[in-house]
Symmetry: C2
Subunit: 481 residues, 2 copies
């Protein structure tokens, strides 16, 4: 890697340009030929595979099953639920021909799969014995994005999982929505090391066609919120439009309650923004595809044998305790070039092994988050690596948590609200009367929307930040991606 | 499960109807609203996940990396390689609008990804240091199928992996093609328990745009061949169309050699056809998502505690040796109903635990392939289960291997060739002059195509089965899916 292939801009000087550079230079992504599309390069896709593995374990343990539904959805399906159709139709890619034949009905390339899935569920659900139906799919989704596209964050095609469940009662659906939201929180906070706010969406911000939407929202370094996950109770609206009925234990016909929930490759964008620095990205150890890279250093041929032997021995020892290790034994690059490259790619730990280390029965270990360097005796390497990986995982979360706290303000006056949104950004906690008029005026005047309405009842409400009338909720406002 | 939910037709009496029933009734698939589309239900998708896990391990160990490229491909990309375009364009689904906006250029929903991937590779490949480039993606692909669609076997959308590699030399590309073909053979024969013929495709049957195509072909019970996997050396044709050049160690510009290779959810169709019987599907233990189902049997409440305790103890013991176990503790169905359902779904082993078994310190184990039943002492359960799973895996393969041998005929006369293809089906080994005219006349007159040209040189060639001229190759002909 020549000098100019590293980042040429600092994260705090020009966040947007920094993000673009880090995405293009850290083996993460490249721009596609069609507006808003992108290629996922190996590091980004490996992070996605880590996320898939973690989340699959969570949902499979609780009885959910993976399935796969068709990409192409007849337009008439989307039209069955009016709000849903209105919400998605402006972004839908339409297939109108197959080969040289014009199709009778145009087909949507799925922007989300509720309608096609309910076509099947209405056939599959007959009796209370079939409930709950707990299915999930991992797939691509397309939504034509024209404005402010950004790799991972806002793209015309992205990868996600969408869970779609059907239940006999509202209570069962409510419970499912929160179970999944907890899984998402566990994944995002404990694996991706990104702290989030948890709550409900307002009526204006909920999913098109939902009864209610719950969400997790993170705060990015530029003061804009990023929606990380949503889990919706869809009520019985779709059940009525699609005829999803079951016979209960007494033989009575009832409509099911459905939920849907999703996380997407947007999480990777959040990860880059939250943990990256001026050297590149930083991958939290729990989701890093490679946790430790070993760089062997030798100048003469007779040094090579000893150094490689030692490198391999360390690799074996670390793999026994399930640390993933890569030895970078390319002879086409210098050690210094390799150090830069693995820092750019965010590998949590680097182990350097040179002839002197062989002689002194030690190695040099460098942590990616702080740059801290230590000489470690051979016998201590395993314990040290384990400890450092833990420490990096915690440190990344703690740092991000502090950032979130710094970027959260409580205000009582609208003038202050506007000033903070305009200058500092971040979440602004404010009391709100619950009226959509106030919400939309605030959005119009400041660009900030309600990101979450916390689940916990707030006792110390002041009057509505906008209209001064009696407040119903505390809400977290922010500008967002 | 009431009586009529089982299969109502025998595999040997009406193979096609048997296949449809088994697909619909064994938790495998359901038909979609758009011609040729389908939903993958939990058992089918879990088999796909098994296949993904096995193949990912093989390719990652050999330095391949997973990535993801855009679904939508500009028409102009497809047109850059003429043969390729001609080959795929009749089946392409075209996106012509996004929301209410007509697109300037129509976009193909990927029928295969060579062209979009080479758009990126031509940017990413600069030097010999960048080679070999070994990438793979798991994704959906769409090809508008109108005639003889069949779930898993021929569908308008399917799931697959497509590997796309770039190399400095022809030799490297040749080697990659065969390495992957060996991985496929290992997967299909040793995990899916389906024996295959291995070889090259003829010029007429090769992939559109390929230099040559290698393939694995299996024989289905109805005498038709099923293409299970292909691995192509694409030569330098695409490299020239897409400008994929690298500087070699001397600084000279050269075109890369590319390969592509794929397996798809069609494998699941082959699995169903090969191993299924009149009771349902049979999953080879190595890819079964559940290897052993335990059905607890009790009639009185005071029996339940003991029976469930024993069932759980067995589950724990089996999970320790990595056998995947499911206890079917639903109280909404009878044991007999459950036996039928798990047989329909092809779970390799069933363990029955009743009050008498608790008393006698034993269980009843039933194998799915032969129906054989055995009383097994508690202390022997782990060893017995391990042995039976091995035995089932081998038995399924051996049975299929015998079938393949029975369905392979060697002929020297065209009249015999026609008779066998018409009446018995299967592979017909015959000598062939290598002329495309003979090949296409044979296809026209019998419906049989060349499925493989074996890699091994054949010494005992007779004259061409069709024209009687000097033969160049032995070829395996068959009708196919």
């Amino acid at each position: 890697m020549s000098e100019q292939e590293g980042l040429t801009v600092k994260k705090k000087d020009n966040f947007s340009e920094w993000y673009t550079q880090v995405v293009l230079k850290s083996d993460l992504a490249d721009y596609g030929p069609v507006q808003g599309t992108m290629a996922f390069k190996p590091t980004a896709y490996a992070v996605w595979e880590s996320i898939q593995g973690i989340f699959n374990t969570m949902i499979k343990k609780t009885g959910h099953k993976n399935v796969y539904f068709p990409l192409l959805i007849p337009e008439s399906f989307l039209k069955k639920e009016a709000e849903h159709f209105e919400g998605f139709v402006p972004e839908v890619f339409w297939v109108t021909a197959s080969g040289n034949n014009k199709l009778g009905e145009q087909l949507a390339v799925r922007p989300t799969s509720e309608t096609i899935i309910y076509y099947f569920y209405s056939k599959w659900i007959r009796s209370w014995r079939d409930l709950p139906l707990l299915f999930n799919q991992w797939c691509n989704v397309l939504r034509g994005e024209i404005k402010s596209t950004k790799p991972f964050i806002r793209t015309s095609e992205f990868l996600w999982q969408e869970g779609h469940t059907a239940h006999a009662t509202m209570e069962d659906a409510d419970k499912e929505v929160l179970t999944i939201l907890d899984f998402y929180q566990d994944l995002i906070e404990n694996y991706l090391a990104i702290p989030v706010l948890k709550g409900k969406k307002s009526e204006a911000e909920k999913f098109a066609g939902a009864y209610y939407t719950t969400t997790l929202e993170a705060m990015m370094p530029d003061g804009k919120a990023l929606q990380m996950a949503t889990s919706h109770n869809l009520g019985q609206g779709f059940a009525k439009s699609f005829g999803m009925e079951f016979s209960d234990e007494k033989g009575e016909k009832k409509h099911v309650w459905t939920t849907s929930w999703g996380i997407s490759t947007r999480l990777i964008g959040g990860l880059i923004m939250t943990h990256g620095d001026d050297k590149g990205i930083i991958l939290p150890p729990k989701i890093a595809p490679i946790q430790t890279v070993i760089v062997p250093i030798y100048y003469k041929d007779d040094e090579k044998g000893q150094v490689m032997k030692k490198a391999n021995a360390i690799k074996d020892k670390l793999e026994k305790i399930n640390v993933s290790v890569h030895i970078d034994d390319r002879n086409t690059y210098t050690p210094g070039w390799k150090f830069n490259e693995w820092e750019l790619r965010g590998i949590p730990l680097r182990i350097e092994v040179g002839p002197k280390d062989v002689k002194n029965k030690q190695v040099v270990i460098v942590r990616r988050d702080s740059g801290e360097k230590a000489n470690v005796k051979d016998g201590d390497v395993v314990g040290k690596v384990e400890g450092l990986l833990d420490s990096i995982q915690k440190n990344l979360y703690e740092k991000a948590k502090k950032e979130l706290q710094n970027k959260t303000s409580g205000v009582k006056e609208y003038s202050e609200f506007k000033k903070i949104i305009e200058n500092k950004g971040g979440f602004v906690k404010a009391s709100w009367c619950g009226d959509q008029d106030c919400e939309s005026k605030i959005k119009e005047e400041t660009g900030a929307t309600i990101r979450t309405i916390p689940f916990e009842k707030e006792n110390k409400l002041s009057s509505c930040i906008y209209c001064d009338k009696k407040a119903k909720n505390l809400a977290n406002f922010a500008r967002s991606y």
